[in-house]
Amino acid sequence: MGFVRVNFTLAAFAAGLVLGQVPALAASAENGKVAFVKNGCWQCHDFNGQGSVSTSAGRVIANTQLPFDAFKAYVRDPGGAMPPFHVEILPDSDLADIYAYLESLPKPRAAKDIPLLNQ
């Protein structure tokens, strides 16, 4: 499947500066896209992080508003229905890449501008 290709290095760098987070500095959205699939994130969150009412309680992780540390803490120990991804199966570097991928996804258009959503 052909995902939207985004070179995220600059954006991640900028985000890392703002957030002061070292992992994000080295993150690659392109690698993150691969890691997102390889680690099975797509299964519940769909390939573009849009999620589903039936698999992610409707939560959207594309363009997540969570800072990286909070994101990482949640993935390591979600507590709810999501199974944990410990560091042994998902290294920090992969997680940082996944975060970068999610941040790189294009913002959705406004629903009012999509005719099929206004039938």
């Binding site: 499947m1 849009q50 009412v53 039936s54 698999t55 199974p83 959705p108």
Partner: protein
């Protein structure tokens, strides 16, 4: 197997296979006009039953015409001809079934003596498909069909969808070919396919079954089976069809054969005292919530539920066993409102426990955590037929939930009394507060709708195609017609229920009930069959995994010219299992092994990808795909709609996101 009758006892040479000559003589005194007798016997002054019920034989005859069955005597007539007369009195329109030697006698009678009308035989490629078609048909038409199964093996094939129908409280008349007489049945295969008690295979998930041993017994059993199946709680029933009884000439027991008149049974309504108590709780509640699952499946039922909700200005949570409540109504709300409720009324909930409790599958040891969804002190009311039909073995009755006011009864039959009780109990002093509550819900509804649309916009142009885009591209092509989203299997995050305007029961009629995979494809064909007779456009959202269980249902649609637009939700996996195996690997702190697939080994449907469009073409459908680019989807569906309008089934194979 026919009983030994007195004539047989007096003449030991008269066994089952040598009965022909004797029956030919004796039958002359047993001349009957069974079908005519059944209709003539209708009393003129009988009160009209409630409109919620299916039509009785008289009404059905007036509407559709009962075939003219000439008077006949039993002389030399095979038992199966009489059985066909019995079946015809019940106005059963179709008989989807896979042909089989064990019921060859009635098969021949149906198509030759019965002229293949009422019922019309629909050729199926699997017994499971026959039952699934009957199930889907009922959900749209509210009329049951019958199917025939081939002995032990055929009934075993049918079982999963019989279980689905049982869980979904849908009537199907299942007739099982069998040959009881071990001394006379052919050896070899027919004996292997026979059983001492064939209905035992499905007894735990049918409402009733019988093994008739004479023609008269068959007539009474069949009409009884129909009546039991269609009286709420509705469910499948099973009749064993003895090959000897069907093949041989009708035996004379010295009594004229007759066909019992079928009169629909009034559905059970809740006890009035309990209904009044429910009304008292509801009108005095600050935050009442109505939850509806398999509650109503008629226009009248939907209208009654709207009346109740508007009287109370109470939000309605749809659990989607049926449409229940218009998607366009401002009182339709998500399940999160359950947590704010002080009174909840559950209407035919398949799982009340899970409505007010939350189970989270989050423990590596296999024990999930449970939390309450409701506030302490929330009063619970239930109107349900669940307690009127509960068996032991199969656990579809779910965990036990204690309820403050449990009312045993059919929802649609009970709603008029509940509405009246609410009107009587509603004090003027509460009316302002109730109106204010309604206004707040209306505002929340509008906000929620806008938020839902914005969620649908995410990944709108993505590849694979998002399920929101898939659903809205379909809706754009059908919304200006009289349309029906027929029962099917695609799990597309409920987008149709969230964004399509649905206010008729046939716009959406719920899932399989038992979640047995292999139901969607045949059920969608059954739903389309019912819609065809109403001139209504049918569309299904068909999942890939389900399709491969019974793809033969597609051929049945092509063979019998059943127009249906099937849009594949092809996420190339058994996606529920994709997630389950990943979940277990995570709990065990292991990297899941995906081999060369996307999902864990054993859960993907890829390498090679299945070309559903080619599969459909090979069985006589128009088809297109695979569609991967969202920009190509609308034009492909438009093309397919035109084909379906011409009377052909059409399939569009779409590569989609998982959910």
């Amino acid at each position: 197997m026919p009983k030994k009758d007195s004539s047989a006892k007096n003449n030991p040479k008269l066994d089952r296979r040598k009965f022909l000559a004797a029956a030919a003589v004796a039958g002359a005194s047993s001349a009957v006009k069974p079908a005519m007798a059944a209709t003539e016997a209708q009393p003129q002054d009988q009160p009209r039953p409630p409109s919620v019920l299916p039509p009785n034989a008289r009404v059905a005859a007036a509407e559709n015409g009962v075939p003219d069955i000439p008077p006949y005597s039993t002389e030399g007539r095979p038992g199966s001809d009489f059985m066909v007369d019995v079946i015809k009195t019940l106005n059963i329109k179709y008989l989807p079934a896979n042909p089989a030697s064990s019921y060859r006698a009635i098969h021949e009678s149906l198509i030759d003596y019965g002229k293949n009308t009422m019922p019309e035989f629909l050729t199926c490629t699997h017994e499971e498909a026959g039952v699934g078609i009957a199930h889907g048909y009922y959900k749209i038409a509210n009329k049951p069909l019958m199917t025939l199964c081939h002995g032990t093996v055929g009934l075993m094939h049918a079982t999963m969808n019989i279980y689905n129908a049982y869980c979904d409280r849908v009537p199907v008349i299942v007739v099982n070919g069998n040959d009881l007489d071990a001394a006379h049945r052919p050896p070899g295969v027919p004996t292997v396919h026979s059983a001492q008690d064939i209905n035992a295979i499905v007894r735990e998930f049918t409402k009733w079954d019988d093994t008739p041993v004479s023609a008269q017994h068959f007539a009474e059993s069949f009409v009884r089976a129909y009546q039991i199946a269609t009286t709420p709680p509705c469910a499948p029933v099973a009749i064993s069809l003895d090959d000897g009884l069907a093949t041989e000439p009708i035996r004379d027991y010295g009594q004229k054969l007759s066909i019992p008149k079928y009169v629909p049974t009034a559905a059970p309504a809740g006890e009035l005292g309990a209904v009044r108590e429910a009304a008292r709780l509801l009108v005095n509640a600050e935050r009442p919530v109505i939850v509806a699952d398999r509650a109503v499946n008629t226009e009248r039922g939907i209208s009654l539920l709207v009346q109740l909700a508007e009287l109370l200005q109470a939000p309605v949570v749809r659990q989607n066993g049926r449409l229940n409540f218009p998607t366009t109504h401002y009182l339709g709300r998500p399940e999160s409102v359950i947590g704010q409720a002080d009174v909840i009324i559950g209407l035919e909930l398949a799982d009340y426990w899970n409505t007010v409790n939350k189970f989270t599958d989050n423990n590596a040891q296999g024990v999930g955590s449970v939390s309450s969804r409701i506030k302490p002190g929330t009063k619970l009311i239930s109107i349900s037929t669940l307690q009127l039909m509960t068996k032991s073995n199969y656990q579809e009755f779910q965990r036990f939930q204690s309820v403050d006011v449990p009312i045993a009864g059919d929802v649609e039959a009970t709603l008029p009394a509940l509405i009246e009780a609410v009107k009587l109990a509603l004090p003027d002093s509460r009316k302002d507060a109730i109106a204010k509550r309604g206004q707040a819900i209306r505002e929340a509804h509008m906000k929620g709708r806008d938020e839902t649309k914005q969620l649908a916009a995410i990944a709108w142009d993505a590849t694979p195609i998002s399920t929101a885009r898939l659903c809205m591209e379909i809706y754009a092509q059908i919304k200006d017609m009289d349309w029906s989203l027929v029962p099917s299997s695609g799990n597309v995050s409920n987008w149709p229920l969230r964004l399509w305007a649905m206010d008729k029961h046939y716009h959406y009629s719920g899932d399989s009930g038992g979640y047995g995979v292999g139901w969607g494809a045949p059920a969608s064909v059954g739903g389309a069959l019912a819609n065809r007779d109403e001139g209504r456009f049918s569309v299904s959202i068909q999942s890939d995994g389900d399709m491969m269980y019974s793809p033969g249902a597609l051929w049945t649609a092509a063979r019998h010219k059943i127009p249906l637009l099937a849009v594949m939700h092809n996420n190339r996996g058994y996606h529920q299992e994709v997630m389950h195996v990943q979940r277990l690997a995570n709990f065990r702190n292991r990297v899941v092994n995906t081999g060369s697939d996307l999902g864990p080994i054993g859960t993907s449907i890829m390498n090679p990808d299945i070309e559903y469009h080619k599969l459909a073409e090979s069985v006589g459908w128009w088809a297109k795909g695979p569609i991967k680019d969202p920009a190509e989807l609308g034009p492909a569906i438009k093309e397919a709609v035109a084909v379906v309008k011409s009377g052909q089934p059409a399939l569009v194979n779409v590569w989609t996101q998982p959910r």
